[in-house]
């Protein structure tokens, strides 16, 4: 009988009683029958009263998607998905939430939906919160706060559906400009059935005084959420944008395939932060969110700067590579990531930094934490094109293993086509050992506290890039995700 030294840690980590966002909201909803075909695409478009050009975009994408194979190259393994077994539209039924006459204040939101967001700590009632929120419930945006205040500065902050109605020229100009409909399988699917999302436009020279955020909530079972987010920062502007998300505990997979396009013009700066806490599934691999996301930004002008910061703790499978196309000379791309996998979660995440302009710089700091029986992969590409004179990249990829049944993998791809470029890559793998835990416990620190202290120490470099409250939230999420036994 050989007892492994990690048995107890594995045991602690195996439980998942602490996904506190796992409740389910019961309200009247309109949900399309399961299935996907051209009529469904047309029905989604009709539901939203979309103009012909938007329907054309969807249909073009849908026809292309039908010709594409489902990708299975990522390290994350999943059974082929039956796309006919999902519903592609679901929305609370109350009239005021409909996309055409969206409520200006939270008061008109379906009370059950309002309760759900209150329980999640998302300030949709426009109170004194120091942040503006677009709250998305299944397929629709149900509330967008602080719009009047923002409008005075010329900032557009609305749901994607509204933007299609109210700012068609901007949407037509930018939709698909960074992530074309044919970019990849899931981007094509999203382009066809995009439900809702957030649209942000920061005019020239404006520093957005508060953080803007979107909270995504998937509620209905067997529903896909396909949000489309477009964020445009005009010359010399600044914006810090944050995404949060969660879903009820379900014993079947739920599909989430988002596309985010960010356009950063000359001298503008965008900080894009994500705290991803989708339901990860249970220890037997039942349920959880399949999170297939295409996030990409382009630094169009000189000195443009785009930072992606992500804390990924949820989802059964994550497939996500927020990327920067550094076109403008001296533009800067950054990627700070903490990805935690536990139980049987699989994460395949990383970034692509495409250097086109001169003296472009990129920094990649990736911290992968694997626990339980999970697999965590960093996959990154740094590409320096021939014209990118003096481009520089610094990459640091650290992996930490917690227990002995999990895996960490690193696939850094580097393509340098300009001899003046400097590319540095550092990688480490460490294991939270029995020795470290015993050392902490011998000083009176409980095993749980020891694990979260060590893990947070490991992630510090990334968390300091998150806005303060979210850094705290991310720390707590890590502790909770690793917990499951106490309290």
């Amino acid at each position: 009988m050989q007892t492994t030294q990690y048995e107890e840690i594995n045991d602690i980590l195996a439980k998942n009683q602490h996904y506190k966002e796992g409740f389910h909201t019961q309200t009247l909803v309109e949900t399309f029958a399961k299935g996907l075909n051209e009529d469904v695409v047309k029905a989604i478009s009709a539901k939203k009263n979309e103009p012909q050009w938007m329907l054309d975009f969807r249909l073009k994408a849908f026809r292309h998607w039908q010709t594409m194979p489902e990708p299975h190259w990522a390290k994350a393994e999943y059974e082929p998905i039956d796309y006919q077994d999902y519903s592609y539209y679901s929305a609370p039924e109350c009239g005021s939430c409909a996309t055409d006459g969206q409520a200006e204040s939270g008061s008109a939101v379906d009370p059950e939906v309002a309760k759900a967001f209150a329980a999640l700590g998302v300030p949709i009632d426009d109170s004194d919160a120091n942040i503006a929120v677009d709250a998305i419930f299944d397929s629709v945006s149900v509330s967008t706060t602080k719009r009047d205040q923002l409008e005075k500065l010329g900032i557009i902050f609305c749901s994607f559906s509204e933007a299609v109605q109210d700012h068609p020229e901007l949407v037509q100009r930018y939709l698909g400009s960074v992530v074309p409909y044919h970019d990849n399988f899931f981007a094509a699917l999203n382009s066809a059935v995009a439900s809702d999302g957030t649209f942000v436009f920061i005019p020239e020279g404006v520093r957005c005084p508060i953080d803007l955020s979107t909270y995504f909530r998937i509620n209905e079972a067997k529903t896909g959420q396909f949000e489309r987010t477009i964020l445009i920062a005009e010359k010399g502007s600044y914006i810090s944008y944050i995404e949060g998300c969660s879903a009820p505990i379900r014993d079947t997979y739920q599909l989430h395939a988002a596309v985010v396009e960010v356009i950063v013009h000359e001298d503008a700066e965008v900080k894009y932060s994500t705290v991803q806490n989708w339901y990860p599934g249970d220890e037997d691999c039942q349920g959880g969110i399949l999170n297939f996301v295409t996030k990409r930004g382009v630094c169009e002008g000189r000195n443009a700067k785009l930072s992606w910061t992500q804390a990924e703790t949820g989802s059964a499978i994550t497939w996500k590579y927020p990327s920067c196309i550094l076109k403008g000379d001296n533009s800067i791309g950054e990627f700070y990531s903490v990805a935690l996998t536990n139980r049987r979660q699989q994460a395949d995440t990383g970034t692509k930094m495409i250097h086109i302009g001169k003296n472009t710089r990129s920094t990649i700091i990736s911290k992968g934490l694997s626990a339980g029986k999970s697999d965590n992969t960093y996959r990154g590409l740094v590409k320096i094109l021939p014209g990118a004179e003096g481009a520089r990249n610094f990459t640091q990829c650290d992996s930490m293993l917690i227990g002995n049944q999990c895996g960490a993998h690193t696939f850094p791809y580097i393509e340098v086509q300009n001899p003046t470029a400097q590319v540095e890559h550092e990688a480490t793998t460490s294991r939270i050992g029995e020795d470290q835990l015993f050392y902490c416990q011998q000083r009176g620190i409980s095993e749980q506290d020891a694990i979260s202290m060590i893990v947070n120490g490991f992630c510090k470099e990334v968390f300091k890039e998150l806005p303060l409250e979210f850094a705290q939230e991310a720390e707590e999420l890590l502790a909770i995700s690793l917990e499951g036994s106490v309290g």
Binding site: D435, R443, G444, I445, S446, E447, G457, F458, K460
Partner: protein, 252 residues
Amino acid sequence: MFLNIENLHAQVEDKTILKGINLRVNPGEVHAIMGPNGSGKSTLSSVLAGREDYEVNAGEIRFLDHDLLEMDADERAQQGVFLAFQYPVEIPGVSNKLFMHTALNAKRAAEGLPALDMFDFEQLALEKMKRLEMSPIMLERSVNVGFSGGEKKRNDIFQMAMLEPKLCIMDETDSGLDIDALRIVANGVNALRSNERSFIVVTHYQRLLDHIKPDFVHVLYDGKIIKSGGFELAQELEERGYDHLIQAYEKV
């Protein structure tokens, strides 16, 4: 009764290492444990501190009112058992400050005392560090990462001074220390000596014992205490080594 170890047997992975240890420690006493490599000194220290790799298959350990073997390592620590490690462990990314602050407050919570805030903690920590001639920047550095061997040992003694344990077990704290570091560590230990606090000092050398002056010296060999005596036993071992004791023991 302060500490009473009776007939302690322990094994790791089917290998029996401790084969019947008996040891009684009264409050305020200093016991030295000496013995050749591999005799089980670190194993005894680890079993006392509650390391789970070791399976206790017979015997009993009473500590104050507790059945020590029933307690988890963190509980034992909170009740005043401290182990200075033969090889202190590195914890990247966790500052000494956070580590000790967390540890101290865990102990205070177990004692029903309010948590120390960062300011009070820091003041206390800096006082203790000064006595051990440690630079204040050590508080900001990750626990033991990039520390020299001597700095690691000193850091362990600093932690001991902070936690003010009742039973201090020191596993070869003197190995790898130069003469100055040895003096500093010994002074740190002597400063902690009191009528209520007891020490079990594992060492190969008399030089630490010269500073600390143990009340009892025990020789551990093949998982058993084969001889006990006073300070003079340490001097005898320094001159003659273990061989004659081992030979005498094995004849019996």
